[in-house]
Amino acid sequence: MANIAHVARVARRTFLIGTAVVAGGIAIGYVAYKRDPKNPLLDELRDGQSTLNPYVLIDSTGVTLITPRADLGQGAMSVQAALLAEEMDLAWGQFRTDPGPPAAAYYNGKIAAEGLPITATSDGFFARVGREMSEVIGKLMGLQLTGGSSTVADAFDRLRVAGAVARQLLLAAAAQQSGVPLAQLETRDGAVILPDGKTLPYSTLAATAATLNPPANVTLKPSEQWRLLGKPMQRLDIVAKSTGTAVYGIDLRFPGMVYATVRANPRLGGGIASFDAREAEKSKGVIKVVPLPNGFGVLANNTWRAFQASALVKPVWGAAPYPASSGALFASVAASFTADCRDSTLRNDGDVEAALSAPGAKTLQAEYRVPYLAHAPLEPMNAVVQLKDGRLDIWTGTQIPRFVVTAAAKLSGLHEKNIHLHAQISGGSFGRRLEDDYVQQSVLLAVAHPGVPIKMTWTREEDMTHDFPRPLGIARMRGAVQARQVHAYELSIASPSVTTSQMSRLGKSIPGPDVTIVAGAWDQPFAIPNYRVTGYRAPPTVPVSSWRSVGASGNGFLHECFLDELIHAAGADPLTERLRLCTHDPSKRVLQAVGDMAGWAAPLPKGRGRGLAYTLSFGVPAAEVVEVTMTAQGIRIDKVFVACEVGKVIDPVNFEAQVMGGVVWGLGHAINCELTYADGVPQQTNFNAYEGLRLYQTPQIIVKALQTTSDVKGIGEPAVPPAAPALANAIFAATGQRIRELPLNKHINFV
């Protein structure tokens, strides 16, 4: 019954269809927003190809679905194709996919909302307007970006509408070609079916369909009629990725291609005074050594020879433009709990000061720390570039294709229309490819050595020491308990601003407070009577960026561990007290579910412990219970139970994979990962010093999606934030040891 209303809303919002510009739009921005972005496929249409909208390309050999969000491993390509194929009535796998060109039409309408101070639990006027504004901002900016767990949420309506519009056009073309009334036609497996059973494949209808006017309205299938969505689907890339035949950017090979690597100052932004490349230039296979703004590139006839030669170059690096040691970097954050540095107080309920100073109040306080963390995707940063005859081609994995093109135009002096970015699948990213430093370096190599393809590959050591890491942070907490309840909680978090650092590299400045400093902390649905969360913006030091779950990645640990301390101090039960305090029904259900899954009420024998943590991030409430055993050799992580609420699960196979992967990511970094700095340089240069979780340490992970709301949300990140605090809380339960700093292995051994 809600279906009709939903369809109408879709038609108003998506603007896929060639609607006329609203007459005399109130403001330029409004008109620009209402205007459909141009279909970028029209620019490169070859003979025999037809396009029905920015997501559908058809030629005589079949259908190509455009999947513009980057596949970083999370299954974005498959799920985008599934949304289109569902409404187009294509059989699963009966089509090709292509990431498409970078284009404004592929804007992300959800991501900007992440930067706004709106809680996911709020449905007030400003919250709704804010979320609508995200669509406007994304569209106006042509913000094609993969991140913020937004792919499924952003694509859910848009791609289904695109598929449905394409289907309607093909049906209309079939009616025109066959003379059979449209109402008597059906579609199945990539063809229109005539009443006599004759089939007209889409490939025979596309040319006509492309000449027709798109329908003003389409009706989307109700979920009960879905053939693909919500059901287990085999990922389109799974066979290739299981047989070594998937081609990543690092695997590309072209005739005449040369190989390269880059070394830059590991003190990011420190520059290079000079370098001596005489020995390197004599090294076997070396073609040339190219100076770059912060380092140099070595071109050779083999990647390993380029690596070897780059180690022979003797650079004179500049000093780090930030405090050079971990101690000094933490000191800079510790000194930021000042009125001048106060960035936000987005939650301020009750009267924290009065509650803490009330006579007889039972209070406690603590300080917590989280370290810098590298993204370290397994495929090191790389790009293939070729500058030839006024045309620049770039093959690389990226989450920000339009920014890459803009940067490449600036560096090469070419017009953007002469720059062709060919998006590649990525061997992981976790936010790393929201930066384009490696592409910019490669473009400069192409400018210095035009005419041939150049494959630039970083060494692992270059990758580890030139990341834009997750920032370090310090939290100071105070709280009070009374009558076996949490009565006051003050959480102050100081950290450098990810948003300012990251956006500055994209040429943008974002006014106002940086919500990421307190994300996953200020916006939690707990009715603690006296509750204040304050963000302090520490001075910019090491350039930092978005790391899987961004602000919540550390703030989940900070918020949930001290809440656990308060609950224990109150003499309450961690699950019961959270349920009592929780004001958000889906979150309550998530907490209850994880408690049931874990058998929370049943006691564990001595030496074992359970920890609970809950974080609402990216609009998704996620609760985790970790079970550990204290063995003679150290902590063993036995089991992890996860319950979360994303609404409808669109792709159950990848849903479970993302939750499990998020848990492994959260636990691994919590146990043993940090970037420390000496002389301005990260000291962890490879996986021997930055291991993450290995298989023998991996617990059993039990996952549940509640599916009790009507939302559609992304799950790439929300399972990460609760993992570390659930583990730390479990260690406390098993041992009585409260660890207030990550990584945990600085204080306790793990088996």
């Binding site: 070594g244 021997n688 290995r694 298989l695």
Partner: protein, 152 residues
């Protein structure tokens, strides 16, 4: 220098210090084995030398003393090895970058030990890193592959 890779002989003219990985990838165009760390810490470059899994990033090509099998030689999309088929069945891969190495490690384990215990699986597979966290499905897939191989 003569190398046998996936049943085919190649003559390569490279310095003996060059790691096998880079001979495979850049000289022979065999890109299934991946570069991840260069110091035998991640296992993405795992290939078989004879029956033994080796980290090709840290094996000098001059020290190769047996026939090399890479993921491409284990099976193909049209004719998958039991381990590859199990990896597809359990949809193990996320980014997939480590999976060539994971599959080669699992295939070597099962060739040497057709009935591995949980501890043996953990021990054999823990030299291979997966940043995406596919380990739970790797465990399931190794067991499925073991069952498939026994039934074959």
């Amino acid at each position: 220098m003569r190398l046998s890779v996936n049943g085919r002989d190649y003559d390569v003219d490279v310095e003996p210090e060059m790691p096998l990985l880079w001979v495979l990838r850049d000289e022979l165009g065999i890109t299934g084995p991946k570069y991840g760390c260069g110091i035998a810490q991640c296992g993405a470059c795992t290939v078989h030398m004879g029956e033994v899994p080796v980290r090709s990033c840290s094996l000098r090509v001059g020290d190769v003393n047996g026939a090399i099998i890479t993921i491409e030689g284990l099976g193909t999309p049209a004719s998958m090895h039991a381990v590859q088929a199990a990896w597809v069945e359990h949809q193990v891969a996320q980014c997939g970058y480590c999976q060539s190495g994971q599959i080669m490690a699992a295939a070597a384990l099962l060739a040497a030990q057709p009935n591995p215990s949980d501890e043996q699986i953990d021990a054999a597979m823990s030299a291979n890193l997966c940043r995406c966290g596919t380990y739970p499905r790797i465990r399931l897939a190794v067991k499925t592959a073991a069952a498939k191989l026994k039934a074959a």
